[in-house]
Structure formats: C-alpha cells, structure tokens
Symmetry: D3
Subunit: 161 residues, 6 copies
C-alpha cells in the first residue's frame, strides 16, 4: 500500500494544485494533501479556511484525505509513517528551490523521505497562489485560475461579498 503526501500552503488552492492532486491520486494508493501551518508567515486564509476549500476539491477522490501540520515537515512524515512527498514543478526557479528542500528533507529524515516531482500541466504553468491573490485584490478575472467556490472565498476576503 503506497501512500504519499502533497504538502503546500494552498493559500488558496488553484487549478494547478488540483491538477497535481488529480494526477498523484492516480499514481498512489493513498494521497494525503497536507496544509502547512507556517507560524512565520501571514496567510490570506487561515489553515481552517484552506482545509475547507480543499475538502470541496478532494471530495470526489476516495483515496485522497486532508491534513495540516506545523513544525518540520520531516517530523510530520516520520510521525505519520509517510515515505514519499509529491511536489509540482512549474519552472526552473521552482526546481532549484524544490531541489534544495528535497535534499534537506532527505538528510533530516535519514534518507527515509523521498521527494517525487510532477511537472505542472502546460495550461497551468503560469499559475501561482500569490498571482491569484494579487489578481483577486484588483477583482480581475480568475475563471481560468481557480474554481468558482474559491473565487467566492476570495471575493468575501476582499469585501466584495
């Protein structure tokens, strides 16, 4: 029974993340989507709000479940007996950053945590949560970036609903 974790901020979840979730769910028997609760950052959405939006996303995938964690990612994977992490790669600058994290995690986990990369589908390679937040701030068209219910959450956040 092969399980994997897909960690991320998901602030908010985008079509790019959904694409990675869908494809990873087909490769692994069990996929845990884990929301990072980073005490050092000020997210737009709380961990609870981010998990709730993801629930809407993963409800159709029986082998995907949600979780959240704070602290070291390798402490989380060790405690949950997870040995594979999945990450999406959009571009070169992503790659270098992800590579460094993957190597650090391998060392922190004594070689027990493997990171596998999926390349983001072509049509979502421009997408990032930070771009989504900036477009939402100015009420730009997000129909090609996030599902409608995420758009509504963003509108509410920026006082338009």
């Amino acid at each position: 029974m092969k399980k994997a974790v897909y960690p991320g901020s998901f602030d908010p979840v985008t079509y790019g993340h959904i694409d990675v979730i869908k494809r990873s769910a087909e490769i692994f028997d069990e996929l845990i989507v884990a929301v990072v609760d980073n005490k050092m950052k000020t997210p737009l959405f709380s961990v609870e709000e981010r998990v709730k939006m993801l629930e809407e996303v993963v409800k159709d995938y029986p082998n995907v479940r949600l979780d959240s964690f704070s602290g070291l990612f390798t402490d989380y994977t060790k405690a949950n007996n997870i040995h594979v992490s999945v990450r999406g790669l959009r571009a070169i600058t992503d790659f270098e950053y992800e590579l460094q994290i993957a190597q650090t995690n391998k060392i922190l986990s004594d070689g027990q945590l493997e990171t596998m990369f999926l390349t983001t589908s072509l049509q979502y390679s421009y997408l990032s949560s930070s771009a989504v937040r900036e477009i939402a701030m100015y009420n730009g068209d997000l129909s090609k970036c996030v599902p409608d219910f995420v758009k509504e959450n963003l509108d509410r956040k920026f006082g338009r609903l």
Copy 2:
C-alpha cells in the same frame, strides 16, 4: 499606427531603463512609459517624483509619452487600447519571472496583450534600481548607473543635498 507600453517601477530610472526606452522608441510609432503605482510596496520615490525624473529622460523622444497606473496592468492596457507591452531582460531569473507575468497577462487580457522582450545592452546588464538604491544609501559612485539629475534626487533623498 503601432503603439506599445513599457511598464515599470522606475524607482529610480537607470541607464538600463533609458536604453530600453531609446531602443523601443525606434521600433514603435508611439511608446508609453507607464509608472506602476503599487499600493503594496513602499517605494523610495513617489509616483510623482518618478514621473518627473522620467520626463527629463524622454523629453528628446517626440514619440514617447509618460503615464502612471494602479491596479491590474491588463485593466490599464484595455482602457487605453494598448496591445503590446515591452520588457527588458537582464538574466535568466528575470526571464522566468517575466515569462510568468507575460502568460498571466495574456490570459487576463483574453489574448489581447502581447509582451515583447528586449535584452538589456551588455554594459547595463548588472544594473537594477534596487542596487542603485543600496549604492546611493552608502554614497557610492553612481556615474555609470544613472544620469546626474537622478543622482541629485538620490542625494536629496538620503539627506546629502
């Protein structure tokens, strides 16, 4: 009548920007240099100060005019019926960032906004406004980075004039 816009922070304008302005003015019939008024950032110079410095720069180019905008760039270009944006590329990390913005803008504009890239001239490839601001703070030699009147504005900002 082909017109293009060259958007940027220009905080302050450098010889690198001036090089892009000069070369773009030769390619397009009309060039608009548009100062971004980003409410999320704290610039060294106000939009008005940045526009005023640019006025000094573009006064010799009859087909270049100045403007400023806040909000989404694609809202600005739509409102002004502009279909080409010009950006200077210094290096790889620039390229990835600019590529992502170009693709986002293409999607936000329904394919109506095209981004064209010029590579920065060799002798200005090391230049950035943030490097200029840091050098100015320590009163370093800026003679190869910005025109004299920009140097004066920086000296005034840092209390040396």
Copy 3:
C-alpha cells in the same frame, strides 16, 4: 513603416512557428519570414521545400512575405535594410542561446540590428522541429504539432506516401 524579419530553419514549420508569425504580423507593418540556408547542416527538407510549406502558411497574411538567405544574418539584414529581428522563446536554454546570438548580431551590425523576443504560447512550448522530425520518423501522431499539409510532406519524406 516598421518592418521586421523572423529568421529560422523551419525544417519543417510547426504550429509554434505559425503562432510567432501570426502574432508578429500583428505587431509590425511588414514581416519577412526568412529561411536560413545553412551549408554546414543537412536539413530534412531543402530550402525550396521549406519555403513552399511556409507559402501555404503565410498566404492569408497580406503583410508577410517569404525569403531565404545563406551567409551571415547581419549581412542579409544590412542588404535588405532590416533593423528588427523577431525570435520565439520557449525555455531557459533557448533564452541563453538566443541572448548570445542577439548580442553577437548587435555587435556585427554595429548596433543596427535589434532582436525582439516573443514567448511561445503555452500550448506550443513543448514543440520543436527536431521533435517533429523524430516523431514523424516513427509515424507518431503529429496532429497537435503541424498542419496537415506539413504532415503529408513528412509522410512523403519518410516513404509513407
């Protein structure tokens, strides 16, 4: 009257090239698509065959015309009084190579030749003529890569028609 040249091997022309031609034709008053006749390489299609396929592509664009050249590109642009070259960028490795050529051409032309870059549309970013030739050799599906008449030319080349 702003004119530009789009030089390339076009061996054969792909949907990626066609995308650049279409978008450049909207930006410039006149666009010359120039097939490079590189005596050092052994192309799959002759210059004549490549020009003929391009004729089919550009027939609907009244401001685009075809040409071919051998020797130094800067000798060609000088002889034809062309001051802007257009190139498509797919990725980082493209960028470095193109940047080096753009700088060499600027120096060889005494600053008279400017290179402008368009980024390839997302859906064609994976496409290259060499990939098309390899897929054609094994009779793979090229319907998303090249127009039907190019597919026919490839089938004929590989003895399938």
Copy 4:
C-alpha cells in the same frame, strides 16, 4: 498494482542510475527498466550488452524487470499498459530537456503517460554515462562511478582486458 517504467540508454549503467532504480523500486509495486535502442545513435555497448549489465544490477530487486524497445516511447508504454515513467534529474539543463520530453510524451499519449522525477542523490549528481565513457577511454579511476563488473566491461571495450 502500480507499475512504472524507467527508460534510458544506460550506456553503461552508472551508480546514478542504480540509485534511481533502487529508490523507484521502493515506491512502485513493479518497475520496468527499459533500454532504449536508438537506431540514430552509435552506442558504446549494444542493447544486449547493456541489458546484461543491468541484469547484474537488478537481480536483487524482485519487483524490477528488464526490457528494451525501439521506436516511440509512447508506443511502447501504450502496448505495455504503462502509465508512469520515472526519470532522474541531476541539474537545470537536464530539467528543461526532460520537461520538454515529458510534455511531448503526455501529448503523444493523449494524457495517458505521466512522468515523475526523482532528483539524483547528492553524491552522484556529477555522474553521466558520457563522462564515464570518456574517463574509461583514458583509463581513469571509475571506482566511485560504476560497479566493478561495469568497469571490466569498459576495460574490455577499450582493449585493456
């Protein structure tokens, strides 16, 4: 039952490849190591010799089996009902090339072939089969690059055994 394929030239297999095989065998239920028989290239070792060396490598992994193929990789995966391909990434230039191939394969397979990437372990990131071949030609020390039995095959190839 999740199966994956790890395609490559393996000319010859290095400790870098072995590292990817070992780690992939832990992630997937079944792993097929598939030697590419590229008719356009002149390898140092024949497909048979490369498969034979790999046999020595995989004999201790019960869920790994060997195969070889010529023609389009996506024809091979379709015929064998394989939906995941594994590739090792050493560096940025690898990444761009692999990304382009992954996207091409996704399109050629109508979205049926997924590519997952593992980053090469730190201590093997400098290794490539072409470097191994060049070092072997000059009889350099290969003890940190390939297993002894591969070293012997190289010595024989270069007439030293």
Copy 5:
C-alpha cells in the same frame, strides 16, 4: 603575497562556509573572513556573536583572520587594499545573483576588485544559513549542517539551553 577576502553574513556559519574557508585558505597566502554588518537586515546573531563563532572555526588556520564591515563592500576592500573576493556557488540561482554583484563590484571598484568563485562541495550543496535557522527553530537534527558549538548557540538563541 596574494590576499583575498571571503565576505558573508554567516548567520550562523555552516559546514558549507567552513568548506569554502578551508579550501580558500589553501589557495591564497592570506584570507580575511569578513562578516557583513547589514543595517537593513535583522540577523539572528549579532555581528559580535557571528565573529565569535567564526573564531572557533578559523583558529586552526594560521593564514586566516576575521573582520567585519558595514557600508559598501568595495569601500571596505579599497580601504584594506584587497583585490580578490571569494564566493561559494551552490546553484544556478546563486550564480545569477552572485554574477550581478560581482559585476557591480567590479564597476564600483574601477576594475580593482576581482571575484573568484568556488563551487560548494557536493555534500553541502543543500545547506544555507536560512535553512539552518528554520530547522533550529523546530529543534531538528543539525548534526550534518553545523559544528556542535554552533548548534549550542542556536539552542541558546531559541531558549533551549
């Protein structure tokens, strides 16, 4: 008598820095390790604390001495008659950033300051002071990242000693 400077934040010093110090000390007759006192940043350790940790590191290298500076690096090197700066390169994104700084320093020093790069040893390529600080915050295993006395300083900083 060739002397060189190795400038950095060293907040805190890692095995990666120590590797660069050790290797540079073998190449140059005299090496100055210079701690940057950047007034714009809020470091975890004060300049004094950082210098003290480095003292422990360099005590066995007779041709290495410590220093600190604020202001422009090129003002520091001019005042100390230093003509070579040493920097470690871990990855591509490092390279672009370092390249831009090297070129700026060359211009600010009128060509009197040369920058030489060493590539970080394989086993330390994942290491950065910021990763160390983050791992320390969560009390992760730092035994492969920093010497014991640095670990103690980090524990004290985060209230665990």
Copy 6:
C-alpha cells in the same frame, strides 16, 4: 608559490580568453595556459597553431607559460603538481557544464584539484570560439572578437590570404 592552470581548446584564442588570462595572471604567482589536444574532436587549428597564437598573447606576461596535453586533465595536473584550475564563466549553461566537470575532476583527483571560476567581463560575454569560427567562415567583422594576428590566421585558414 601558488600556481594555477587555465585549460582550454583555444580554437582560436579570443579576447574573452585573453581577459581571463590577464586577470588570472594577477591573482596567481604562476599561470599555465594549457591547450587541450582532444583526439575525439576535429579542431580548425592544430595544437601547434593554437599554441603559437597563444605565445603572441602571453609574451607580455612574465608569470604565464604555455603547455598542451592530451588524456585526462587530472592526470596532467597530478603529473605537474598543479592544484588549482581556472575557468571563465559566461552564462548559466556554461555554469552547469563547468560545475559537472569541476566535480568530476575533484573526484578523479581525490580532492587534490580545486576549480576556481572567473566571470567573463561584460563586453566579452557574447564571445565563443565557435561563433568566431562561423563569423570567420563568412568573412564577417571580427575586430571586437580577436586580435589582428588571430584574424590573419583565420583568413589564411579560410583561403583568403
């Protein structure tokens, strides 16, 4: 007494190489410029011709001497008791390739060979021997690329003298 080697094909030597030689000669007590005699490649100029052109270049630098070698570079440096190799970096793609070679050489030399990198001066960053050979073939202007006596050697090679 610190000595270093600058290995390369120098086919032919360009202003970019000369810039690296000049700057390295100021950093090291003794610099050996070593022409690689690669039996696998077909150079434009023979090793003897390349050394002769370099003699003209280095005659004004008393601490620089010429040499040539075939076989493994690390065998050459071991035989000559050299512990530092110098390489010029023009761009990212250079960097990755050079990094891989530097790491391979470190391993092949049991950590006895250190590679240091200089970044190419801005005005020569577009220059490569292969570009020079192609421009020379078409009799383009090489005055900003190579010294006059190299231009004459190229003219003779291409039958123009």
